[in-house]
Assembly symmetry: C2
């Protein structure tokens, strides 16, 4: 419940009050507190907004609180709102907890009316300025408060410019502007049925209300959905004394960063425009100057600005971005915040601040994120290739994609099959487009955000995507897309080349070379090999990544292993920092050339036939294991026994049925296929994911798991004899009850004993299980007694806990579910803490309780997801296992998880 | 740990010590305590046996305890084991906690040797008897202790009978028997390499050990597996002074029941054989007499026996069966226990004992079971049809099946398609036989027990089955089965008729008429309509079922509803006592003639097409609802919105592919099929159970659920206008998160409001959800806030919690899992308490906590399973919903659950 205080003077708040005062308000208060030159003002809280949105009226106490805040403001400046001599004017700006740039309303120059405009003219000594300000107020007010179409005002203005025979509105005279004010007021009267209010306080109250309401404008709602910002936060409103950058050449306005946000290199960066207001900088009407130019034209202000920026950076201990205005030689700070930066800059700035003693190593680690690191790892478009930026969309799935534009999924499939790289361009995608999406190297849509069908599916497939590039006019029937780019209309047709950057949302014309990123090259090839070839910024970024990643390694409790199925993967993973393999699938050992042997195993009609076929597979499997164990020598390698149902190794049933039917129709001999079809029918399952697989297969098909265990044990013997230190672990998949694992453990132990006897070498290894069924989690106390370790298979656990299979549903309804808010993020991307995560927590607690030495890890894809890694840290796992290229991310986030958890427990 | 006492005198124990003394030992002790004439003796405990089985030797303390128990026995009788004048002989019998008739060993006449046999002859005055007893000891001992093949003894005996030129062994003289003893001892010496031991104590100790060991004989293990008796219980051993029924015409032996166990009618029933031992009664060598015969030949003993039986029944307050021996006019009780009875007798006896004041109403209810009632409900083979009993097997799945024998599953399918009723006869079944099992009316196997593949699959399909009929010699290649029946070899060939009783395990030759059972007729037609047509026993059973069922209704807290999808089902369910419908599926409303409309909905390319097709379906759905609600007027009807994925309403994909391929091959027009195939491919799911179904469908396919809700609301309006009191409830399937339900609830409420407005009648109804996904259970606290009720869909919840689909796995590995002890019973039959049940418990607790008025029920098939009903009672549900024919079972068990739970909490 609100505490009853809805209005805070800038001098009352601080930067920690973002939830109450919004980001802008909290930082204005902070700067005021620091004694920086902030125009005085006050903030109406987000609580007031939430009240308004719920009750459809302002909280009763608000009016009197605004009155007293306003009086304080007037007293401090010695000016009155609406005064006919030297009137106080205020700006009314939104300021939400999370930045939503341009999404909500702003009204400037509040307080002007037919009388005070004269006072402003008098006080500023600039009549034109006064009437121009009044005109601006009326149009802004008309649009935001009185719901009058802005086009009406702009047309009237254009007309006046034409009539006056001048080039632009800035050349209009005071008298001409005065006429426009008359016209504007008439427009409001006609289109809203009401007068533009002359009472300054009414203007103020209605402006505040309009900002409240703009929280729920369509574009604001859309933006929030895309950016996953909660709908019930509301916005604060900042009421601030106006200062003017357009009072002559000794006035001006600018934006600046305390360091370069693109590369992270030190030194201030910014744009300045003399004799202009903030909007003019944003609108890009005139070419801006640099801060160096300001230093030469106005050294005192420039010095003050530099000092202020240093002060802010020291105070915030981070890169800040600011907005400022110079009014007749006096500097005013209008806004500051911790600035956004690129991924590379984030690492570099964190290291700089650390070296400058502003932050600790822990803080430096907390300042970077796994998703920033992930951006630095994906292949990149060559920089400065000079290609034209066609448009920008939402960066929906990272990575670089270069290919030929196609509009039709069927053509995408066709072209891809003929070896071409295609980029599928659609207005938006739907489940019918899936095949085309699979065939494409990248996806580009005109509509939809990060949770659109295209984005969800692309991320699921690990494919670059740019979505919601709204400037694109996609004509799927004509197979063309048109876009206004830098004032020019460009047409793309089927077959034209584009290049997408899924991390930035940029779309370029033509083919841009794609290369491994400097950071991934350093990780795979080593610092010394890569550093000489890098430019200064890349080199700096790589060194900083190295430094922070190594620090994360010293901090983290979670070990990081890799999901890797081959020697090559294992080697790569080790370079990327893997401390073992958490999931070595053995399915691939049954594919390729071995398919025929596997078919013989499956189709065996006698146990001798089966045994023979298994025996032929054994040496091949052993060699696979030797290769992997050798690459990971000295580190644990968790081998999962065969998981998929046997029919996955046989031909597709429908295809076979068609083949048999056609052969019969043609009178050809189909006996081999018919025999195969009988077996396929026998093994057919309507829901193979819920069928005869994993440990069930091991218990029902004699010799199958024994084959694998024997091959692994023999590989172990071979490597130990060669002087190695292999550390295999055996993992039984899909266990649902303790007895399954006990039975399997008996069989495994028996095989190991046989190999021990044969080889004369003691062969023993940890035996554990996947926890990937709800029942396994729920009965972990029992299962743990038969297990040396648990590894959470969170992919399958997510599928069974939710009762959906990723293959089937991701395309079918995930986008709709994200749109409708059932998911805030796909549960396959980040672990669903209250459902799946609760099972993990139950399992950890009850497993450890009944078996205190139990080792616990996770090998689902969540093992490489930043948010999920924090959860796994909190819940107390020993390790996460991730695909090789997520390992650096996992190392970093495992370290961050320690810092973040410690910080959370400090504040608790 | 054993407390160190391994031997209890009969005078020390009581009937509550079955776990320690075994069933036989505890009851012998109880009878001793009651002062009934039990020959003195002592019991070696199950603990001693378990120790022996674990350590492979007797517990050290056992020897001295046996010594002192034996001394007490000798002292009380004044006779000594092995005495040369009047020796004490003892029997050594197994006695497990659960009866395992004939499975373990017995050794009689222990204590006889070359010297004491003379003493026995002297004391009994019957030399022939003495040598016959000695002969019996040697052969029993040789077989059980010394591992000599029993055939060697029986052949030697046959040879002696032949040589003596007599008809049977009973005509052999004392001298001839003496010679046989010499031969028997020689057999033992030759085949075991050891002498038959002359030391009586050695005989005793080795006999006890042999009984211990017989616990783990193959046949005992097999029996336990079939009967689901734990393998680690062990058996007690009863050592009892011998009494002899074969000492002349004033001696004899018999078995008796205190009431008729077949019909439950009052009065003693039994068999008596003069001048005979117990084995002779069992072997059926001579025709037995009735107890009435005994009364005329030996009235004093008969009277004492009758009094004893009355005493036992009063004491045990239940039907008892007994074994007794008369030794020279003196009655000895050798065994008693609460007797087995048929299902009908169980109800009748419970009522009788109640009327006699021996038991309370609660106890009467506890004395009968739901599975007994279920037996009384299945169709029955006509009694006294006179057909020959071919053999008996394990009653694996109840019900009557009459049909023609087939041995080949393919022929079963073929014949069934041509309209014949077939009974599939196999040595044992495996997953390949599934189609044949589906096609058959009943299944008969020669091997396997209640957990065999055939049994599990048959129960899953609700099909009668008799398994493990080991007398059958099945020759599948020759398509014939031979069986010895009453000494005659009978051959059955393909096409011959048999009749199976799956409740008793009986297999009859020929066709026996099948009819509804008297109990089911009474339930459906009413008592008055049925009673006159029944014989006395059936009438009594029906009256008793009625009485106990009505009592259960007064006791139970759980309400009982039906799973019913049509007016007919609803009406039937109401007769059977349903208090509403807990699950009305709506899938069938999309089948049959409506398929075409449904196809139009699915294939619609525009929303108009879809809306039109939906509109055409609406009135049909409304009529369905009217019919069901009318039948259940005044009672709640829970309607589940559409659950299955849409492709279930379209043709099979593989079939369609074949059709299209063949049409193309033939150059025929396949465009309609091709169009259909595109849609089928689009909707194809690799795991439909985990796909786009339930609430997902409702949220993704516009108008689908609204159609159903509108139809239901309109049906409601129609019925209320006609003066009815319909009580529909809307159930949303497959909810996994609270938001899904909230969204669906909004849509449903909107539709109801529309119908309210249209009709001018307030239309509102409870809206709830299935809890059938682990995530729903785990987030019940949230979901409950949007739900008026939860209904546990324990079928799907079992499938997702375990991660297997019933369709795929029941045939594939359930039998193996039961065999291996992973399951003790199929989790689809009885709820898996520690896994699935734990989720139910979590959901109940957290759902109620966040929504105190939440109504809770279950609509999975477990709702009709006795053991599961007890769980649902304990966990606090409000109702169970079961298929109509399980409703009486559910009513009964819901009542019993109250009694059993109260008893359990009393003893706690």
């Amino acid at each position: 419940m609100p505490n009853g205080t809805f209005v805070y003077d800038f001098s009352e708040g601080n930067r920690d009050q973002k939830e109450l005062l919004g980001g802008k308000g909290a930082n204005l208060a902070e700067m005021t507190r620091l004694g920086l030159p902030v125009p005085p003002g006050f903030t109406v809280t987000t609580e007031a907004c939430r009240w308004f949105l719920t009750h459809d009226e302002e909280p009763p106490a608000l009016r009197v609180q605004v009155t007293s805040a306003l009086r304080r403001l007037e007293d401090s400046l010695g000016r009155q709102l609406g005064d006919t001599h030297d009137p106080l004017l205020v700006s009314v700006r939104s300021g939400a907890v999370f930045s939503m740039p341009g999404m909500m309303d702003t009204i400037l120059n509040v307080g002007l009316n037919d009388a005070s405009v004269q006072g402003l003219a008098e006080a500023s000594g600039d009549e034109r300025f006064a009437w121009d300000s009044y005109r601006r107020l009326i149009s802004m007010y008309g649009r935001t408060v009185m719901d009058v179409s802005p086009e009406l005002f702009s047309k009237a203005l254009e007309h006046a410019v034409e009539s006056a025979g001048v080039a632009s509105e800035s050349e209009l005279s005071a008298d001409q502007l005065r006429s426009i004010v008359v016209i504007y007021k008439e427009i409001i009267r006609t289109h809203s049925g009401r007068e533009f209010p002359q009472h300054p306080r009414e203007q103020l109250d209605m402006a505040v209300r309009a900002v409240f309401q703009s929280w729920n404008s369509e574009r604001a709602k859309l933006y929030r959905r895309r950016e996953r910002i909660a709908d019930d936060l509301g916005t604060a409103v900042n009421v601030c004394a106006m200062v003017f950058g357009n009072l002559g050449e000794d006035s001006g306005t600018g934006v600046a960063f305390t360091r370069d946000p693109a590369t992270g290199s030190p030194g201030h960066y910014g744009d300045y425009l003399a004799n202009a207001q903030g909007e003019d900088v944003v609108a890009g009407i005139r070419n801006t100057l640099t801060l160096d130019d300001l230093a030469s034209s106005n050294p005192a202000v420039a010095t003050q600005l530099a000092q202020t920026m240093r002060r802010l950076e020291t105070h915030y201990r981070d890169l800040c971005d600011i907005e400022f205005t110079v009014e007749r030689g006096k500097l005013w700070m209008l806004q500051t915040r911790v600035g956004k930066r690129t991924a590379g800059a984030a690492f570099r700035i964190a290291c700089q601040l650390l070296d400058e003693g502003l932050i600790t190593e822990d803080e430096a680690l907390a300042r970077v994120t796994g998703s920033q690191l992930a951006q630095l790892l994906v292949p990149q478009l060559a920089q400065n290739a000079g290609n034209r930026v066609l448009t920008r969309g939402i960066p929906a799935s990272p990575g670089a994609a270069v290919g030929q534009v196609v509009f039709d999924p069927a053509i995408a499939v066709e072209w891809a099959e003929s070896g071409r790289n295609v980029v599928l361009v659609r207005r938006e995608t739907n489940p019918d487009d899936l095949a085309g999406m699979v065939a494409s190297v990248g996806i580009l849509t005109a509509r939809g955000g990060k949770t659109s069908h295209a984005a969800v599916v692309a991320r699921g497939m690990g494919k670059p995507a740019v979505c919601g590039a709204e400037a694109l006019r996609v004509d799927e029937a004509e197979r063309m897309v048109t876009v206004m780019s830098e004032g020019e209309q460009i047409v793309l047709r089927e077959g034209d080349f584009v290049s997408l950057d899924g991390a930035t949302g940029e779309v370029f014309l033509g083919e841009i070379p794609v290369s491994s990123s400097p950071v991934s090259r350093y990780l795979l090839e080593g610092m010394d090999a890569v550093l000489p070839s890098l430019n200064e910024d890349d080199a700096a970024a790589v060194l900083c990544v190295d430094r922070i990643l190594k620090y994360a390694d010293t901090v983290r409790r979670l070990r990081v292993r890799a999901n890797a199925d081959s020697g090559l993967d294992a080697s790569r993973a080790r370079h990327l920092g893997a401390e073992g393999i958490g999931l070595c699938r053995t399915e691939h050992m049954f594919l390729g050339e071995r398919r025929e042997l596997v078919e013989r195993v499956i189709l065996a009609e006698t146990s001798t036939e089966r045994t023979d076929a298994l025996a032929a597979l054994a040496p091949l499997q052993r060699d696979d294991f030797v290769e992997i164990l050798r690459e990971m020598d000295g580190l644990p390698v968790t081998v999962r026994l065969l998981d998929p149902p046997l029919h996955e190794f046989l031909p597709d049933r429908s295809d076979l049925m068609v083949r048999v039917a056609l052969a019969q129709e043609r009178g050809e001999d189909a006996s081999a296929d018919e025999k195969l079809l009988i077996a396929v029918n026998r093994l057919h399952e309507s829901n193979p994911m819920l069928g005869l697989r994993g440990v069930r297969l091991g218990l029902v098909v004699p010799g199958l798991f024994a084959l694998q265990v024997r091959a692994l044990a023999e590989a172990y013997v071979e490597l130990v004899r060669a002087g190695g230190a292999p550390q295999p672990e055996i993992m039984v998949p899909l266990v649902g009850s303790a007895r399954e694992l006990r039975l399997m453990r008996e069989e495994i132990t028996g095989v190991l004993a046989e190999v021990s006897e044969h080889s004369g070498m003691e062969v023993s290894m940890p035996i554990g299980t996947m926890i990937e069924l709800p029942r396994a989690a729920l009965t972990s106390g029992r299962i743990a007694r038969a297990a040396d370790f648990f590894s959470f298979g969170t992919n399958d656990l997510t599928q069974t806990t939710w009762g959906f299979s990723r293959d089937d549903v991701e395309a079918a309804f995930f986008a709709a579910y994200l749109e409708k808010g059932v998911f805030t993020i796909s549960p396959f991307e980040t672990i669903d803490e209250i459902g799946v995560g609760r099972l993990v927590a139950i399992s950890v607690e009850e497993g450890r309780k009944s078996h205190p030495g139990l080792k616990l890890g996770v090998c689902g894809e969540h093992g490489g997801d930043p948010e999920s890694i924090h959860f796994f840290h909190r819940v107390g796992l020993d390790y996460v296992s991730a695909s090789p290229f997520r390992i650096p991310v996992a190392r970093l986030e495992a370290g961050r998880a320690v810092i973040v958890a410690a910080a959370a427990s400090d504040t608790r």
